[in-house]
Subunit: 467 residues, 2 copies
Amino acid sequence: MYEEQLNDPGAVQVEQRTAPPYESAIERASLVEEMIYEGMRDGVWSYYMSLHPSDRAAVLTELPAGIRRSLAQEMQPETLAGLLDYMEPRISARVLRQFSADALADVLDLTDPATSTEILGRLPGGKRLDTIAAMEASRPVEALLRYEEDSIGRLADVRTPVLSEDTTVPIALDRLRLMGTAAEEMRSLLVVNNYGFLVGSLNPVRLALARPSATVGQIMDRDITSVTTSMDEQVAVQIMSQLRVSELPVVEEDGRLVGLVRAEDAVEVVEDIATEDMYRMAGIGEERITGPLAESVRSRFPWLALNLVTVFLAAAVIGLFESTIARVVALAAFLPVVAGQGGIGGTQTVTLVVRSLATGGLPRGLGLRILRREMILGLIHGLVLGAIIGGIGWVWEGNAILGGVLALAMTGNMVVASVAGAGVPLLLRRLRMDPAVSAAVFVTTFTDVIGFALFLGLATIFIEFLL
Amino acid sequence: MYEEQLNDPGAVQVEQRTAPPYESAIERASLVEEMIYEGMRDGVWSYYMSLHPSDRAAVLTELPAGIRRSLAQEMQPETLAGLLDYMEPRISARVLRQFSADALADVLDLTDPATSTEILGRLPGGKRLDTIAAMEASRPVEALLRYEEDSIGRLADVRTPVLSEDTTVPIALDRLRLMGTAAEEMRSLLVVNNYGFLVGSLNPVRLALARPSATVGQIMDRDITSVTTSMDEQVAVQIMSQLRVSELPVVEEDGRLVGLVRAEDAVEVVEDIATEDMYRMAGIGEERITGPLAESVRSRFPWLALNLVTVFLAAAVIGLFESTIARVVALAAFLPVVAGQGGIGGTQTVTLVVRSLATGGLPRGLGLRILRREMILGLIHGLVLGAIIGGIGWVWEGNAILGGVLALAMTGNMVVASVAGAGVPLLLRRLRMDPAVSAAVFVTTFTDVIGFALFLGLATIFIEFLL
């Protein structure tokens, strides 16, 4: 009976996804590339247009820059506009940079203002102004561009329909009908008073079932949480996730309604922020693993170069103690032990602190408490690891004093690792900088330099017992 | 005029959030703790119950374990059930572990099945079975527990209302009215055929505005994307984010409808997955930065201990070349240079690969291509850094051969760092293990051990020119 059902054409229109759709974006892009090289322009178009817009966007992202640009230039404005919602603004801006201001304006007029704003924000200043001037629907974009980057104001959907509180039910229903299918996407209709201030929200189903004599103000919900435009997008998303709501109205500081942020946009924000933090911690800029090599070099080399300062600082510290090492060469073997354990300890702390700051798990004003907590943890780990490592060192070299020096240096370096791991991101935040920036480089500087200095310094003091 | 408006009590019921609500969960918890120590039981309750459920959950999370348990035990089942939706399942399970199976069943009967399932999955086996046996609403929970952990089936809301395709509009509307306020939360009503197979979705607003003679099947959308229960939750969330939809129906492999996943739940999944990946990469288990110390030690110490193997391996390599170092002590100073640069390079690659695997940016079947790409990048970075570091080494020690040895070792180690950084997570995935697990420890093992071996090995070969 089930099989009959599955053969019914009405039933199998349901698209069932069992494999991720992006698995094949790269293969699809290769196919498009091949077809273009073989001159099959028509074949390319009929194949490309048969894809879902989100897949078209994924394929466009994976194509080499040259083909990507020529493909985009041949598209109708509405086709291209339909893809921009699904593409990374960084890639969209790169594709659209070659367009004339007029052509670009035609595309962006058909695009969601929040997406247009993100793209415009990545264009050079002159091009941006020319494009906005050429746009017909420039007002919402100009309004959004007033808000700071990474503020929730930038993400607001300003085209969300709004009802006035003294509208009657039949008139509100008529407005809903006029919107056509767009009305169906509304989860709640925002209600404002005569001054444009947000005063409540109304569920469209409640509206549809209400008695005709009521006004919107009488049946709306007055209990509504909103956020202000200047709020950091990450904080706003935290609130949305904590309250488990799917939409959050955005208002100006004075309470005037601006628009609505939706949970499905928040998913992307959360993902992007996490990626950015991870990359910054590891010393990576903006790149895609399947992107061009030059992009990857630009993204990673600056941090590798910065790390040169770190490693030569560490080298200089070892250089200071060359005469000690000359007398007890065995010390050299233990250098990576002290530094390496400190490095992992520091990485643990810095990762925990950076991530807790990002997800709201670490409120302001607790900096000193966290610093003390991590210091105690570093001491505990340092004492245990020091005992183990000191013991191994003792047995290995048959010298108890060497074991003691190792144990002391290890304990000290674990405390330093914890303090640096917690202190560096907390300090960066206090300086209003990104706590994640290059955490790996900064923290290993501390653990290497201080680890070597502690170990070799102690060894120099006790050198007579190590010979 | 604005001020008048702001003083109007009708307008100011709108709660406007300008600061994150969680900023004060720790302070609130301290307040509760103090009141309890001073014996103000009534004060505690009236204060605690005045908070929003999401804030109550946050305060409960921050309280010391003892107070947390006694507070939970004194709550009415419905009050406690109202908090569980907002709490981390790990914390909820810890709070509820002390409850008898009957008491626990009372609470979970009032909780969302997806949340109950997550909590039950973290209880010891016997307790879990006893609790399910004592629950009245055990069927949806039992159904969800059949799906694997981290599969999207576990996250499905199975209580979502479903319409049959041959229901008429007036009857469907009646069903909607019977649901009361719950109906207002529906963004789409799922439609099934007589066999329980998902065949479409219907927007409630379209239903409310439809002519009475139509059936649900006639006005529904047949174009609907669903995912199967066994799909990894992360992949499902990727699809939701890529298609920009706020809900995704979940079906069995054969097409029978199970329930619905919502974007607001996905936000949490995305955030949790990113946190887990970051922590695993850095060698951290499950902990909160404001949690108890013992939890942090349990979370971090295993990785520190594992790293001992790494650092002593590196030490053994240096030990092999002790006679070389004894002859040219200056070599010791350059050890952290080669290893440190390799470590950062490896961290960059491993972070990029792990994150790309997690966000779907790296499809299967591309492993070798990525490995080759990273190897080329490692070679480019290695040649440039090798030239710089070799040059510095030459000037520093006044020995061109030393510079050459450094340059060669640096180039080689950067290639090794890239290959290990890309190869380790790709191999872990092929072995069906988590690619993020302890990436930092594994990759630094490679860069330390091979970096030291390359540098000291080359120095041993050219030792005559270094004296």
